[in-house]
Point group: C2
């Protein structure tokens, strides 16, 4: 692998370790004049470099399916070892083109390619051309819309687009601006959950006395994303007061209202104060759906803030056929989902809505003299988004989401989601058709959780987890094959095939299944041999 | 103003409210085939749209200085009123070009243009072509490097680049990976401070007993950014336990070690537990510099975590002549700065370093089965950045910062900072040369805090604040003039001229001063008239 070119090694000779099929980069050999002052934001320089970058990315997409393994075969330190210990004092000649070459030759070969059509791990980070370019526009404009005055159009577009999105997802009107609530765009669900939790905590402490923070209790299921545990920890909820209610396979790993009621009552009996409930629509491990309406009914008598985390499955709500999973959401206090997961809005773009945004701003708002209040805003109840979240500096994320909604339309987003759901159903069908496998948790959206059954003679259940762990390792070890991840629920280890990469087509799914079958056969043969040796 | 084109109003006729000088947008009249599946990430579609976006941004930069007022004359609701209540079901023909036209005709005229050479408000958000394109690349690649395995090259590049940056800023080796510490790239200083505070809190609670959260005290000065107050609130520090030590003009508004010592001792005497001190290098209002070494000496006996917030001025540390302001930083526990403020890395890019990253991960780390540990990482002590911060999803920010350091070099960044410092010194000189004005707080970096003296006959000090408030309003009201912000320190209202926009040149600074002088003369004339009427 070629060392980075600012090590004074000539990499401009066109010989690259990946052979001639790599992303082509324009070779630039002239020494540019030293950049000073406005030259660093020169329009023509931007045009020149910008067109290079656009071609670079386009070429990357064009080669995505075939050229790169989804996950690289590298060991820790592989890249650090190749890079100099310090930044260069001065740029080498043709620094921008040289850096792009290094992105191609050093960085990309060490990436996990989330946009690969064979990336089935975790949850998708579904990209689109419009989403990527929306980010580029935002970065180019580079405004900081922390107050209305700090960039009025950015704040207003955000208000418009969260209503658009909420409406498209069939959310209750009460969560939208048009219905008296309102939303904002943050980076991640971790932030959204933390904001909601802190708002809930501040309100509860105002009611119960500000010294009772140690008595406040947070509830979720044992399937809830660790974002909630992390948020509770950050917000100063005592570690003993975090309740992960156990779920069961017969409930499809959904949070049981009965068990939640019992847990809350036990805490009240112990003198504690139920504070916050996170209801998940589409858990990370198996996309389980907690029953919103019933859980809200349990929480209500205790004055518990109910937040819905629909980080992944929220995107599916764009399709009316999934709308039933939000039944009862009129009663929730806040709701968040990641449009960057499955709705073609590139990273990052988490939408948070609250029924009473004043509770967010009461907890997170700040006033300081140097924050300009625009004279035009006087007498108006303007939204200053800095008071809705943890951060002051924020990016103009609304532009990207607005472009995505404009350019694909709600129907386009539905088609996108439905295509993946269809492929997942097809993959599920293939798994069910092979008696050696089982679908462990029923598919709800576009994730299939499955595993290889361990034959009785190899120890049955006792060896099943290890067998599937090896299977996943082998599947992910094939350089042209799929990349999946795993879950462990109720002691059962399973493979997760999450379909949602924008580039994924039916053939990638059936190819992936063939690799799984092939590796399973090989794994079973190995066990057969081991078994016969031991016998 | 034209309504958005998906309202079925034809805006493709080339007639735009801003006349013919606006950013040109390619008119697209053919109906594209419906986008389905991988078409939404089609390489050639990206290339076609991407080149449009590059030209759009380049044209925006080219017109930045003259075409747009820095701050728009709009009233709340101006944009919301013009946009439809719902997202379109289907994209209109030529949706992407139509959306770009709306960005030009509806959005940009309502923005505050942070990249304008006449933007002197708040702190800069200094852009560069490489920074913007680094963001574009990151968005195009769209990986989610939450663990090493989730994108090995992204994690390793982040490790490399935070060391590069720390070294370039002359930070103590102990904060860098190479010295046993380490850093990460977050979105904002608000996040960095919160991460440090939570790490400190978890360690202190482990020492003192986990029920004492209500006794923990956070310290800073009355000049500290409200990010610290916000972080303390989020982290569950009791509102009564937040100490903003008063600063004085004779100390140049720096936090006094003597007063801090007294405050800490008083808390200890009251049975409270000093937890966390935020030392600021370059406060938001006047860029005051707290004395790091002396404050660390006060904090040490109490086992207080010392964090340095150098959000703005951290960029200046790239110049050796500013290095003295970090004297004693070997003793701090953590340090953060925003490379997106003044170091040509577009939003967002906050670097956080910690002397003992294990204290961050002890507080913020999480383990869950479905997080893939790559087999290659076994036996290695890999960095999983999800455990260093509040969020799981994160963007590949290292790519942008690496490109900026590669393409401008440390010397280039120095030249960038020094140019602004020179212009600020020049502006300061102009203020001092006009006896009607005074420089209120000594200039330390590239911010000048100044005000118009109120003549005795108009009430002197009593009317000075109002006079300057009106002055700022008039200065910001000129459509071709500068845009500044204000501060109020020790009861004194002042104007802030923060120089740092990449496009700002000497002429913009002297033009700005002429506008200030002109508006001051007008303001004084008005007072003269009012005075003579009243007399």
């Amino acid at each position: 692998m070629a060392p980075p070119s600012h090590c004074h090694v000539d990499t401009s000779n066109g010989v690259h370790h990946n052979g001639g099929d790599a992303v082509p980069v324009e070779t630039e050999t002239t020494v540019p004049p030293p950049l000073q002052g406005s030259r660093q934001l020169d329009a023509e320089e931007f045009r020149r470099q910008g067109h290079q970058v656009v071609d670079f990315i386009a070429d990357y997409y064009a080669r995505m399916g075939d050229y790169y393994p989804v996950h690289p075969s590298v060991t820790p330190g592989f890249l650090r070892r190749q890079l100099p210990a310090e930044a260069p004092a001065r740029p080498e000649p043709g620094a921008f083109a040289a850096a792009l070459r290094d992105v191609r030759d050093l960085v990309l070969p060490g990436m996990t390619h989330w946009q690969s059509p064979r990336h089935f791990a975790h949850f998708p980070a579904s990209s689109s051309t419009v989403g990527a370019l929306g980010e580029a526009l935002t970065a180019g404009i580079n405004a900081v819309p922390f107050t209305w005055a700090a960039s009025p159009a950015a704040t207003e577009l955000e208000m418009v687009v969260v209503d658009w999105l909420g409406k498209a997802l069939h959310l209750p009107e009460g969560l939208l601006f048009r219905g008296g609530g309102g939303g904002t765009l943050l980076g991640t669900s971790c932030e959204a959950i933390l904001c909601a939790l802190v708002a809930a905590r501040e309100q509860k402490l105002a009611e119960t006395g500000s010294r009772r923070i140690g008595d406040l209790v947070v509830y979720c299921s044992d399937q809830t994303h660790f974002a909630v545990r992390k948020a509770a920890r950050i917000a100063g909820i005592h570690r003993d007061n975090f309740r992960e209610v156990a779920t069961h396979r017969e409930d499809m790993f959904a949070l049981s209202p009965t068990e939640l009621r019992a847990a809350m009552q036990a805490d009240v009996d112990a003198g504690l104060v139920p504070l916050f409930l996170c209801v998940t629509i589409g858990t990370t491990q198996t996309t389980a759906v907690d029953p919103v309406r019933e859980l809200c009914a349990v929480a209500a008598p205790h004055g518990v803030w109910v937040h819905v985390d629909a980080a992944y499955a929220g995107s599916a709500l764009v399709c009316p056929e999934f709308r039933h999973v939000t039944g009862g959401a009129e009663a929730v206090d806040s709701f968040s989902m990641n449009a960057h997961k499955w709705l073609l809005a590139n990273n990052d773009c988490c939408a948070l809505w609250a029924r009473a945004p004043s509770r967010l701003t009461a907890a997170l708002g700040t006033e300081q003299e140097y924050i300009l209040k625009d004279a035009a805003a006087e007498g108006h109840d303007v939204v200053d988004y800095k008071d809705w979240s943890m951060t002051l500096t924020r990016r103009f994320r609304a532009l990207k989401l607005w472009l995505v909604l404009r350019c694909y339309g709600v129907e386009g987003l539905r088609a996108h989601v439905r295509a993946h759901v269809r492929m997942a159903a097809s993959f599920e069908g293939m798994v069910r058709a092979d008696a050696r496998f089982e679908v462990v948790a029923p598919r709800q959206f576009a994730l299939v959780c499955f595993r290889l059954r361990s034959p009785e003679k190899f120890g049955g259940e006792k060896t099943a987890n290890e067998l599937n762990r090896r299977l996943l390792e082998e599947v992910n070890g094939t350089s042209s094959g799929p990349y999946m991840s795993s879950a462990k629920v109720g002691g059962v280890y399973m493979l997760r095939c999450a379909i949602g990469s924008t580039l994924t087509e039916e053939r990638h799914v059936s190819d992936a299944w063939k690799v799984v079958q092939d590796r399973a056969a090989s794994q079973l043969r190995k066990m057969e041999i081991m078994y016969s040796v031991l016998a």
